[in-house]
């Protein structure tokens, strides 16, 4: 029985818009991410960027929105996605996305452009508890992006660069403005780029480890969101967590971690499609 449907998830973040196309089959409990795309918003209108990504993905896969897509779910700044079936709150989506990557995960850490949030989940991906960083940009992916720009690095290079560090120095973790001044001083002191980058990763990792402690997180822990793709950040989190007493955390990361919100939204979309269908509701 072929009861496979197509769903899409669009995650509008502070810096990037991520979109995925998923095939979903409830009968055989199967789903596959068929295609994905990320766009940096830059100074463009996020509504237009989101609409273009959806159109691109559909075109690439010879699909028609009205005929073929059973559910398009937005997450993040959902109002930027004009054509959609429903919206899921980003914590809900990232939890499901974390489960998609690592079905055994008991905690998901969403490390995004604007904040970091540690979420405790149950076996179905339901949010049980969470803790998140405050408003300061020094604990966010946007901060890493800014610093990488100052250092003349592409954001994709930051992770590998961090792995080469041998003697990192940690800048201020309280305020992005102070941290940026610290970085200027570190450059003036002649500290190598890998050591500066690693120091920044460690600074954010300190916050992540604090959140995990406050949440009484359980292992394994999935690191998702844009910063989850940064190998240097994953290493920094692992190093700092290792040093904590009574903590035996196992961290999991994926090269597609940035898509966790979009994938989670698309999967919840599939779940909702069938749930509504059972009730005789079609959208």
């Amino acid at each position: 029985m072929n009861d496979t449907i197509y769903t899409m998830g669009v995650d509008v973040g502070g810096s990037y818009i991520k979109c995925v196309l998923v095939s979903y089959n409830k009968e055989i409990n199967d789903h596959k991410v068929l295609d994905k795309q990320t766009e940096k918003i830059r100074k463009r209108n996020p509504k237009i960027v989101a609409s273009e990504i959806v159109t691109d993905l559909l075109k690439r896969n010879n699909l028609d929105y009205d005929k073929d897509i059973s559910y398009l779910a937005s997450t993040g700044e959902g109002e930027m996605v004009e054509r959609k079936t429903g919206h899921f709150y980003s914590m809900t989506s990232h939890s499901r996305g974390g489960k998609h990557f690592f079905p055994d995960a008991k905690t998901v850490v969403d490390m995004g452009g604007l904040y970091v949030r540690a979420i405790k989940i149950d076996e179905k991906g339901k949010v049980m508890d969470y803790k998140m960083t405050g408003q300061c940009a020094s604990g966010s992916g946007q901060f890493i992006e800014n610093i990488s720009r100052y250092l003349g690095l592409a954001i994709e290079e930051v992770g590998q660069m961090s792995l080469k560090a041998d003697n990192p120095e940690i800048p201020s973790g309280i305020c992005a403005v102070l941290a940026e001044t610290d970085v200027i001083n570190l450059v003036s002191k002649g500290l190598s780029t890998p050591n500066i980058v690693k120091g920044i990763n460690l600074s954010i990792a300190q916050r992540v480890v604090k959140l995990l402690g406050a949440l009484k997180a359980e292992s394994p822990i999935a690191l998702v969101g844009g910063m989850g793709m940064n190998e240097g950040m994953v290493q920094a989190v692992e190093e700092l967590a290792e040093g904590k007493k009574n903590r035996d955390f196992k961290f999991l990361s994926s090269k597609d971690a940035i898509y966790s919100g979009a994938i989670g939204a698309a999967l919840w979309g599939g779940f909702r499609y069938y749930k509504l269908k059972e009730k005789g509701v079609t959208l």
């Binding site: 559910y71 959902g78 109002e79 959609k84 079936t85 429903g86 919206h87 899921f88 709150y89 914590m91 809900t92 339901k126 949010v127 919840w268 779940f271 909702r272 749930k275 509504l276 959208l283």
Partner: protein, 388 residues
């Protein structure tokens, strides 16, 4: 669709016109016309209409008026609406209004009426008590006397005497107004995507600052449009919003609730326009008594009414059931005593009745909704994903 956009655009303009230009224009067309500002929650505008006056809803400056002078009149632990109303008065936004009515809501509004008297704003200032005794021969009689008192003020200004015929005609117009508004809510109950709560809010609020005849035309046109199958449904839960009957949430907040995954199928945002739940008798020989009877027997509950024999928590539960809502959002203005004192009563009852709810507080001038959106979004997701 252009017709709808034009209609909604016009209402949006009226709703937040803090200069009350349409009312000003209406008054300028005839020397005998009188404008009377009234505060939330409810005032029987029929009696003004019948004597050549028009009620003008004063619902504060929201997030469109910077408060400088208003803060000097109230302590920090007082809600926001009286500050913005004072600011509007001191900045001469209401200079063309002849009088002001302060329906009894709470001590803060009573004090506001005193401040208006001290500042000598308008030709009269009336703090209007509403009956808390729901016996027609007691509370009803009292209410009629209060209405006569208001009519006396108007007569002193324009010399127009109330006639039975005129008041019955006015009652008919407002009956129609309420019926049309209710029709929109009924359509939204089934098809909430046909008009957003934000647009509906503009439409109803516009009706408080323009002539009722004009508002009825707008409503009729709107009803004809939304009776057609327009818009596309979205996967959202249905909620009832309760607690925002006086100080109005900013439009951004009203919008944020629907953006976060809810359809608001009932609310008490502009409660005064929907306060009377049934037609008022428009054929009566004593129309003041008819208005009074309607209030006594067919008015909506509110946090400023203490009707012990008709508990408000069960009345809200009935609305939730009738509207097919999945839950309730208790939205109270910060420091709003009536709303916040009622909250535990509602919530205890809803815990027992198994009605899901969340609660938050707002101020009319807040424009950061991230936390509220998170709360509402989580509420919506938990119902969509985890409820059978």
């Amino acid at each position: 669709m252009n017709g709808l956009e034009n209609l909604l655009g016009k209402c949006k303009e009226y709703a937040f016109d803090l200069e009350f230009n349409r009312a000003k224009q209406w008054k300028s067309e005839d020397d005998k016309r009188v404008l009377v500002g009234y505060m939330p929650i409810y005032f029987p505008r029929e009696i003004l209409h019948a004597v050549g006056a028009m009620g003008v809803g004063i619902f504060g400056g929201g997030d469109r008026k910077q408060i400088i002078k208003g803060d000097a009149y109230y302590q920090s632990y007082i809600c926001h609406i009286p500050r913005s109303i004072i600011e509007l008065a001191l900045d001469k936004h209401m200079e063309h209004l002849d009088g002001f009515i302060f329906p009894s809501i709470c001590d803060v509004i009573r004090n506001l009426s005193g401040i208006f008297k001290q500042l000598k704003v308008g030709k009269f200032v009336k703090y209007m008590d509403f009956p808390q005794n729901f016996l027609p021969e007691v509370g009803g009689k009292f209410y009629q006397d209060e209405m006569k008192h208001v009519l006396k003020y108007i007569k002193e200004i324009n010399g127009v005497k109330l006639t039975t015929e005129n008041l019955n005609h006015s009652i008919e117009l407002y009956n129609k107004n309420r019926k049309l508004i209710e029709h929109i809510y009924n359509v939204r109950q089934e098809f909430p995507w046909r008009i957003s709560i934000e647009d509906l809010y503009h439409v109803i609020r516009a009706g408080t600052v323009i002539p009722v005849e004009e508002h009825n035309e707008i409503l009729e046109e709107l009803c004809a449009i939304i009776d057609e199958d327009i818009g596309a449904p979205m996967d959202k839960i249905k909620v009832v919003v309760s607690g925002a009957f006086c100080e109005q949430p900013s439009i951004g907040l009203i919008k944020a609730i629907e953006e976060a995954g809810c359809y608001v199928v009932d609310d008490d945002y502009m409660l005064g326009s929907r306060m009377i739940l049934a037609d008022i008798d428009s054929k009566s020989d004593n129309p003041l008594e008819a208005i009074s009877n309607a209030y006594i027997n067919h008015s909506q509950y509110s946090s400023s009414i203490y009707d012990v024999h008709n508990p408000k928590e069960y009345r809200l539960a009935k609305i939730v059931k009738e509207r097919g809502a999945d839950g309730v959002i208790f939205a109270s203005a910060s420091f709003c005593d009536p709303s916040l004192l009622d909250a535990p009563i509602f919530q205890n009852a809803f815990d027992e009745l198994g009605i899901r709810y969340i609660a938050f507080q707002y101020s009319e001038n807040i424009n950061q909704y991230k936390v509220i959106k998170e709360q509402v979004g989580t509420f919506s997701d938990s119902i969509k994903l985890w409820e059978d």
